[in-house]
Amino acid sequence: MTAHGAVAVPRSRLDPARLGVWLLLVTEAMFFAGLIAAYLVLREGSSNFGAPAGHLSLRLAAVATLMLACCSLCISRADVALTRKRGPRIVASWVLRTVLFGGLFLCLLAVEWRECFKAGVTPRTNLYWSSFFVLTGVHGLHVFGGVLWAAWAWASARRGLNPVRTQLAALYWHFVDVVWLVLFTLLYLV
């Protein structure tokens, strides 16, 4: 029924893909806002919230935070390289580094979880740990998604194709990074 022939010419300067990713980030932001709000409400309001009780490794988390910061940094380097019209190899190498740092972050998260389980801490221990596992788990899934996205971007960046893909991945990574900073502050520091 496209015979009516309205030729689609994106008239506006908004790039659909970029707008789409921004909308995705809005939903993701609201999603994490919901989870974090629930965490805060329970932490302030519950008489039985519990506490990390020494099972958290701040050092591990700090390294993980550093990993994510590196992810953000690398992918933005890739972005800059693209705008400066650098060669595909330079761009691809920055993207690849993002993938690696993201993978490292996930490994650190896995280590953290394993230490917790070893110490007998599970989501059932108390509400703090319930929130901890749900929040870090959901965030970890997002990092995993980011790794896949970056890997996908790498595959095309290597051949110098599809620069938009890398730019959008960068956008997403910054978001994931910011969310982690909030989570890190709330779960580990405050």
Binding site: G5, V7, V26, S47, P123, R124
Partner: protein, 576 residues
């Protein structure tokens, strides 16, 4: 047909195809949800009697009498199906896909594949939901609101086991489906408009879908977050919504879960989306009705800009009123006051819309087509539903009204009298555009008259039931002596509901009759200005707003919104 071709038919990325898939899936679910409604009505009129059809199959041991827990499952499923798998997919999924690109002059959606997945995520969601009927303990049984801890704890009710988990998964998947669709719509409308199609030249249907989608993008993730936490409560035995020291159905929860959570937290997360969801169910309907009133009234929509601003105002204010579902929940009284004020404020844009519809009809040249009749029916019933909302907005009055049949009457006037009437108005109006076949006008009018009368027969007296105090979600109101005298009213409502359902056969006959006629190009049968009726192959250049009817300076009583681009300019423009 070759295999790949048939695969392409199933998994088509063509938005019109997806729109039709949405349309027929939701109509099928409408039939299912409607049957459930009839079973519910049967029980309310003649509780503990032989339930037709399903009683014999499901309850051989009770003399074919439905059991109270199956009744609970029925109204839970009825609500869930009607909201998440009928009204929202019909208005946003079906009409959105079929109309939005055509109305803004886009050849396709911004993300055709995402759009396809939006539909194909809904199918497993439906499968999950219905699978609940076949698992041990039966389907979800905690109402469509899934209040914790009844829903979040596996021992809460018979259906609180696997059935409830499946329900939750279905809800989450339908949320993902809606989100994919919403992102597609917002992006398409923002970036794929034809030349000259400024925002203030978009038909109100597009505005309706746009605002509804924007609401979904922002609000739905809250429900997803809540749903995820509830899923964790059920599967990981966390206790986000489970307070301490509860013993539910013989299970002391402190021993099995990390308790200490808050049941009100779920209500906040749930209503943060599910109140805006009500607007998702009505904003596109308002748009459709505005369009139909204008076309068949041969008159521009009165106050187009205020109409748009009213839609946007509802969209924004929609986020501030969720707490009015919780006036008696134990929320703080100050919050109650704040939510009451915001709720009174949100009544304003809706009334402005109503006044504008009336003003649109002022000195119009009204064609009483089936579509127009349903649109007029929408306005009338929406007025009733909207007005009764004021009772609920007023906190002291809501203390009495809350969870009674007044609420049931109120939202059925909005959702059935409103949204469903708008769907019918839209179908009669755009059927030639969608399917190349026209629906029979006489049958359509017959369909309207019966539906309008019977809708009022069904839902009007529910106000009185509720005022008498009759509670919602009851399998047998006559447990209370004070409701015994309401039996005749309930019987009348049930008969009306049966008649209303039967009357929809007129529509089915109409569909079948249309199917039997050969496809043909209908052109622009209603002589509507907006772009979706264009037949020219060239690109449109939009020059007017969508409602240029009866212009004194024009020869005909309508002026198409766009003129055709010249072939030279088409070829000279770079293709994207």
């Amino acid at each position: 047909m070759s295999e790949s071709a048939s695969k392409a038919r199933w998994f088509s990325t063509d938005h019109e195809h997806i729109g039709r898939q949405y349309l027929f899936t939701s109509l099928a679910m409408l039939v299912l949800g409607g049957m459930m409604a009839l079973a519910i009505r049967w029980q309310l009129a003649w509780p503990w009697t032989e339930m037709p059809l399903i009683g014999r199959v499901l309850f051989p041991k009770t003399g074919h009498v439905i059991s109270p827990d199956f009744y609970t499952v029925l109204f839970t499923m009825h609500g869930t199906i009607m909201i998440f798998f009928v009204i929202i997919p019909l208005l946003v999924g079906a009409f959105g896909n079929l109309l939005v690109p055509a109305m803004i002059g886009a050849r396709e959606m911004a993300f055709p594949r995402l759009n396809m997945w939006s539909y194909w995520t809904m199918i497993p969601a439906i499968a999950c939901l219905l699978a609940g009927f076949f698992v041990e303990g039966g389907g979800a049984a905690s109402g469509w609101t899934g209040y914790a801890p009844l829903a979040s704890v596996t021992s809460g009710a018979q259906g609180s086991g696997t059935g409830q988990t499946l329900w939750l998964v279905a809800l989450l998947m339908s949320g993902v489906s809606s989100l994919l669709g919403a992102i597609t719509y917002v992006t398409t409308i923002a970036t794929h408009r034809a030349r000259g199609m400024t925002l203030m030249r978009m038909p109100l249907t597009v505005w309706g879908v746009f605002t509804a989608s924007a609401l979904q993008v922002v609000a739905l993730p809250m429900l997803t977050a809540g749903g995820l936490l509830q899923l964790a409560d059920r599967l990981l035995l966390t206790g986000f919504f489970t307070p301490q020291n509860l013993v539910i159905n013989g299970v002391a929860l402190d021993a099995v879960a990390a308790t200490g959570g808050s049941p009100l937290l779920w209500q906040h997360l749930f209503w943060f989306y599910s109140h805006p969801a009500v607007y998702v169910m009505v904003l596109p309907a308002m748009g459709i009705v505005s369009d139909v009133l204008s076309v068949h009234g041969r008159k521009p929509v009165f106050g187009y800009k205020p109409m748009v601003w009213a839609l946007c105002a509802i969209c924004v204010l929609g986020f501030l009123v969720w707490g009015h579902h919780m006036f008696v929940s134990g929320m703080s009284p100050a919050a109650g006051t704040a939510f009451m004020l915001s709720t009174f404020v949100i009544a304003l844009p809706s009334s402005i819309k109503t006044f504008n519809w009336l003003a649109t009809l002022h000195r119009a040249r009204i064609q009483l087509t089936a579509s127009m009749l349903f649109a007029l029916g929408f306005v009338a019933l929406f007025i009733i539903g909207g007005l009764s909302g004021l009772w609920m907005a007023a906190t002291p009055v809501d203390v009495y009204i809350n969870n009674t049949y007044v609420v049931v009457a109120h939202f059925h006037f909005i959702v059935f009298g409103g949204s469903v009437f708008a769907v019918f108005a839209g179908l009669y109006h755009w059927y030639p555009r969608f399917f190349g076949r026209a629906l029979d006008e006489r049958l359509g009018k017959l369909h309207f008259v019966g539906t309008f009368v019977l809708t009022n027969c069904v839902f009007l007296m529910m106000h009185q039931l509720g005022l008498a105090g009759m509670l919602r979600r009851t399998a047998d109101p006559y447990v209370y002596g004070m409701f015994e005298h309401l039996r005749p009213v309930n019987v009348f409502i049930t008969w009306s509901a049966i008649a209303l359902a039967a009357w929809q056969l007129v529509f089915v006959v109409n569909l079948l009759k249309a199917r039997a006629t050969p496809r043909r190009e209908h052109g622009n049968p209603w002589r509507a200005c907006s772009l979706e009726w264009r037949t020219a192959a060239s690109a449109p250049i939009v020059e007017h707003g969508p409602y240029e009817y009866s212009r004194p300076d024009a020869n005909s009583d309508w002026l198409p919104q766009a003129r055709d681009d010249t072939p030279e300019r088409v070829s000279s423009r770079p293709q994207s």
